[in-house]
Amino acid sequence: MKKDSHSEKQDNLSGIFSKALLTGFIGGLLWSAFGVIMYYFKFSEVGPKSFLLRSWLTAEWTNGWLGDVLSILLAGFISLLPAVIYFAVFKKINSMLVGILYGVILWGLIFYVLHPLFSNVPQLTDLQFKSVVSSICLFVLYGAFIGYAISFDYHNMKVREKHRKQARS
């Protein structure tokens, strides 16, 4: 009986919501780490720290590895927000494409709409072509990472619910 209660607890919405939060956090860590690597190898002239730290702080340490680590951590926490929004709006659509679109939207939001917030980041028109492509790729992967996981979990929950209903009736 304990087994049953356990697996059912996982299957309700709040269980999936906490999973979504975890996915958001890890997605933020992972893809901002990719961002740092891309910045290091100059795939892109802006890295996570250009947004999260350098726009406000100009202290010397933000340019070193500490700045990178801190911005990765920060990105992890900030990334909870997109996960929550995705969970609230798109979770019912079981397709990776939505995640990809979501990534593009996020990219547009950060590089264009919210751009005035980040004083350290050049205008979209001033960015090099390679930076634009790299950052779009990164955001698309990030969006798919978050979106696909949340939709997949939700979809599976629905399938299991249906099975349980069938088993009971």
Binding site: S7, K19, S151
Partner: protein, 493 residues
């Protein structure tokens, strides 16, 4: 065989049966069809068998018993009952139709017709030609079981059964191929494996219509998963019974095909292909370390060459401390061509090594070392750094536990190299993204191929990143949707 076909009953006149066997099956034409006639109590008795699948002593023994009836029995009216009684084999069946008789004989059983009777006996003393279980070449471990599957499906299922003495383990036998009638065995643990998955697999196998499965499990696989031109292995093969048993416990379904020493594990993800039995033979710490190093090597085999090419094309990408990377002199041939040539050269070697006879292998190795290594550099064909990176990436692909995956990775690597060569940084990043989405979009029997990475699953990923000690790995992987999620009783706390 279509069901509509008329069934031929066994005739009471043995000459009719003999004629049937001669015309339909080719007794007397095919040399491997054995035929022997003896007279017992003035009634003709005919034996049909395949001489390669029945041991001679068995046939002699059988004939001896039949002839001894003449010395010991007198009741001529009861020949049928006497013969049935005297057949002291463990498996004797009575059949009524000629079709059954032919099928059984071609599977290696002995069919016995008696004149004046409308049924025949089938005696099972077959022994298929085959080898003993040996350690599979492709999946060696330092310690651990050294038995491997063979070409015989009966031995294979019993090797698995020895590891799972559970009454809920099901080995369902199906037959595929109109002409070859290949035995296919679907194995699963009934209260663990997902019903839908088992049903899906069985339906797909039943739907196969083909004359013969000579390439056995590979041919079967192509019927099971929609493949197209995708080079990636969507199912996992193994020749190790312990790996197979472990996957059964996890809720996977296993398909064994007769005459193949490898079995198919359904479904399989990308990350399944990166695991190896060796990890489970070492302490969890060491196992984790091995897994990380292996993952790193596989990533090297994929991304090292394109990345290096990128830095050669555009040295400004390199940070100051890494600026030593890149060839000192570019040589006479563009680096991309050098990479492609060296890589395809390595491919030549790999293919040659597969079917080079052992006595020539040393010579092949020597030629390889000299040719690709030293002389090519001296002559000015290759820059030494190209050799270094091609070698590292090749070794990385040999580290990949799944041979199929390593070959598929090779194709991806070439794609990435070309993308980088044509479009530089942009080509590399777009190529990388495309590869991830291509893989994520693949499905192996409704299972996302990149699970647990995309879609992300924390528990599954944890089990991939760390080799969790067995007492703590309590949860079956959720991707196979097991009916029973727990491997051990959950502790009451």
């Amino acid at each position: 065989m279509p069901d509509t076909k008329d069934k031929y009953p066994i005739s009471a006149d043995i000459k009719d049966n003999q004629k049937f066997m001669k015309e339909r099956v080719g007794v007397g034409v095919s040399y491997d069809l054995g035929f022997r006639e003896v007279v017992v109590l003035k009634r003709k008795i005919q034996l049909y068998y395949l001489n390669g699948m029945v041991d001679d002593p068995n046939i002699i023994q059988l004939l001896k018993i039949l002839i001894e009836i003449n010395d010991n029995e007198v009741d001529k009216k009861k020949v049928y009952e006497i013969v049935e009684n005297r057949l002291v084999n463990e498996s004797v069946e009575v059949i009524k139709t000629m079709d059954e008789a032919v099928d059984q004989m071609l599977s290696g059983l002995i069919v016995i017709f008696i004149d004046g009777e409308k049924s025949a006996f089938v005696v099972d003393v077959r022994s298929y030609p085959g080898r003993q279980p040996e350690e599979p070449d492709t999946e060696r471990v330092v310690r651990g079981a050294r038995d491997g599957y063979t070409e015989n499906i009966v031995i294979n299922t019993s090797l698995t059964r020895r590891r799972i003495r559970d009454e809920r383990l099901r080995n369902e036998m199906l037959s595929v191929g109109e002409r070859s009638k290949t035995d296919v065995c679907v194995s699963y643990i009934q209260d663990v494996a997902n019903d839908d998955l088992v049903k899906l697999i069985k339906d797909k196998i039943r739907a196969i219509e083909i004359d013969g499965l000579t390439m056995t499990d590979k041919a079967l696989e192509e019927f099971m998963v929609e493949r197209g031109w995708n080079p990636f292995p969507l199912v996992r093969y193994t020749e190790r019974p312990d790996v197979a048993a472990n996957h059964l416990f996890e809720g996977h379904v296993i398909v064994t095909v007769d005459t193949s020493p490898s079995i198919i594990i359904f479904p399989a993800t990308f990350f399944d292909h990166l695991e190896h039995a060796e990890e489970y033979r070492q302490t969890p710490g060491v196992g984790t370390f091995i897994r990380w190093v292996r993952f790193f090597a596989v990533m090297c085999s994929l991304f090292l060459l394109p990345l290096w090419l990128l830095f050669v094309i555009d040295p400004s990408l390199l940070p100051k401390e890494l600026s030593f990377i890149g060839p000192n002199e570019t040589g006479n041939i563009p680096i991309v061509i050098q990479i492609l040539m060296a890589d395809i050269g390595v491919e030549f070697l790999r293919m040659a090594a597969i079917h080079t006879p052992t006595p020539l292998a040393t010579a092949l190795g020597l030629i390889a070392a000299v040719l690709i290594g030293q002389i090519a550099v001296d002559v000015g064909m290759f820059s030494p750094e190209v050799i270094l990176y091609v070698s590292v990436s090749t070794i990385g692909s040999y580290v990949t536990p799944s041979y199929e995956l390593s070959v598929a990775n090779k194709i991806l690597k070439l794609f990435l190299v070309l993308m980088t060569a044509f479009f530089g940084v942009v080509g590399f990043t777009i190529g990388f993204t495309l590869i991830i989405f291509f893989l994520a979009n693949l499905k192996s029997l409704k299972t996302p191929y990149l699970w647990p990475f995309l879609p992300f699953n924390a528990m599954g990923m944890l089990h991939f990143i760390f080799r969790i000690p067995v007492p703590y790995s309590n949860v079956r992987p959720s991707i196979v949707h097991p009916k029973d999620n727990y491997r051990q009783p959950t502790k009451k706390s």
